[in-house]
Symmetry: C2
Subunit: 349 residues, 2 copies
């Protein structure tokens, strides 16, 4: 064993993943893409298979004092489906592994499962297996998802070319603001347990946090419109972080425009109420599970009228860097303040 | 929410899985087999894909006071590979999701990964993704595995017919006795920290516990000999429990013979030293990760001379039940004392 000790917090989540991924090579011909995208790509013959996995840990990813188990079950499936969507694929099977402490009743686990089954139905995936075991502390949900994509339609992070148009779906920053509202209500409740949570003006953003809906609708519509994104990623860590991922993998710079970034009115107003900059929330607030993708300029007309696809920027030579053009026409370097799940702190990456 | 509260311990692991599996139906044509076998079976075109997942939790499945991280990494991959072997398939990709507490250094996680990489190389699987996150208490390892099998060669739990021959590979009970030895040495060390662990006479069984090797060699040999098992399962919970699974799924009774059950000499002698019945250890001790399968009588000759395949019994009409024939020619009903991972207690099932 090595004598040196490096703390996990010194590396951060992305640093650790990069360090562990070093020296991992693939040996099977069927492995088309290993570590480094939203899902692994597996050659299954006529099509590609897609494989991804996500783990959700109580106290790290969710707080059961305000997250209903049914919503949590739905979200656990949805975030995995989102990884398959981000490859332009369709999810078909999931495995569900649960670590459970004795604190949970059978009825509680059934509520969790009800949410999973609702999501499975909504996204047309089958729950086909998994594992159930004891946990020493709280709830652990580990899901893997298998999906399919036609070989010529797979969308990697790495495919963007200079001059492509950058698209974002839905609206951004809402899930982050929903979390802020629920945290505030929790603090208020803890200070005075007679208080009822005040959530009626925040329904949309709370829903964005509790029950994100993977954008499979967009994947189906892209197929209908005959558009294959040149690159794609799901927006789980914030728009800025995902832009930088596309940039790194594709070897292009990305320029986005502040006035094009889609922000819902409730997100905007709540951010202002919390003395936060709405744009910063959209850039760095995670868990929206929208899609960020690039298309060729010639495909613009096909999507132009889509109400829920927003053209927020374009790719450029890598030497021009990754930049935000503000409303005042200033150029600001894009930096990701991704959530560091290992330390629970925001980190630059 | 329901007002009643049912404790998890009232149902046990198998009971909970059965309860959650109720009401789960499959909706995709590609799902050939969902919950209920060692792996799910997915139609990917010319072949079947196989998908399985397992979660290992510190303090439940392993004790880091005597389990080296490198061995643990190897074992985590091996037990997942074993699920694919049990379908007569070949594993090709795995995802690795880790929950880590701050107690672990980067070097410790690298040691864990070294073991995983060694197993990946040994079993020719690629580590293609996963997730890394914080855990509030200890180490959580959640792995999913994807494999392939030719459609006409898939082996389910359900395929045994009356009159088939029952085969077990390797030897049984060793992993369980290895665990007993390590637990004893841990107790001795805790009573007197100056004591060195005495493991030199127990190397084989300690290895069986720490670093089980999935029997992919057997899968390759069965293919060479042109034998497709009529049913198969891996021996993770003990021989008796697995016999009952094959019985339930196939709708046949199983008769095994005490004098045919393969037990290594070190396992036998250690069991006697611990005042345990070696046969009981083989029947109910888990984690050997050998294979249990049935073959047609006409295939017997093809495997007859294989040194590591043991013909321990046969199937019979379900009405004859599941029985052990003792050395004295007594008939004893087979009962599974499977390990209950939820309560940490042995349970009948």
């Amino acid at each position: 064993m090595s004598e040196s000790r490096t703390e996990l917090s010194q590396l951060g989540e992305f640093g650790l993943i990069n360090r562990l991924a070093e020296g991992i090579s693939t040996q099977n011909h069927s492995t088309v893409m290993g570590i480094g995208d939203d899902a692994a790509v597996i050659n299954t013959g006529d099509q590609y298979g897609l494989l991804a996995a996500d783990m959700l840990v109580e106290g790290v990813h969710f707080d059961l004092s305000y997250v209903p188990l049914q919503h949590l079950g739905y979200k656990a499936i949805s975030v995995n489906v989102s990884d398959i969507a981000a490859m332009n694929g369709k999810p078909e099977q999931v495995t569900v592994s649960l670590g459970l402490s004795n604190r949970f009743s059978v009825e509680a686990i059934e509520a969790l499962y009800e949410g999973m089954k609702a999501a499975a139905k909504a996204f047309q995936v089958d729950i086909v297996g998994g594992d159930t075991t004891t946990s020493k502390s709280g709830l652990i949900i580990s899901i893997s998802v298998f999906g399919k994509v036609e070989k010529e339609k797979v969308a990697y992070r790495k495919g963007a070319k200079v001059g492509d148009i950058l698209c974002a779906t839905g609206d951004l920053g809402g899930a982050f603001m929903g979390l802020q509202v629920m945290e505030r209500e929790k603090q208020a409740f803890m200070a005075n347990p007679n208080l009822q949570p005040q959530l009626e003006n925040y329904e949309y953003i709370v829903q964005r946090q509790l029950k994100p809906i993977a954008r499979m609708d967009i994947i189906h519509e892209l197929a209908e419109f005959g558009v294959v994104p040149t690159s794609m990623i799901d927006i789980s860590d914030g728009l800025a972080s995902e832009c930088l991922h596309l940039s790194t993998h594709s070897g292009v710079g990305i320029q986005i425009y502040e006035d094009k970034i889609p922000i819902d009115r409730q997100t905007y107003e709540t951010a202002v109420e919390f003395n936060l900059d709405p744009i910063t929330c959209a850039l760095n607030g995670g868990e929206d599970y929208e899609l960020l993708f690039t298309i060729k300029q010639e495909d613009y007309e096909k999507l132009e009228k889509h109400e829920d696809i927003h053209f927020i920027g374009h790719t450029q030579e890598l030497t021009k860097g990754n930049r935000l053009v503000t409303k005042n026409n200033n150029l600001v370097e894009l930096k990701a303040q991704g959530w560091n799940h290992l330390s629970g702190q925001k980190e630059d990456n």
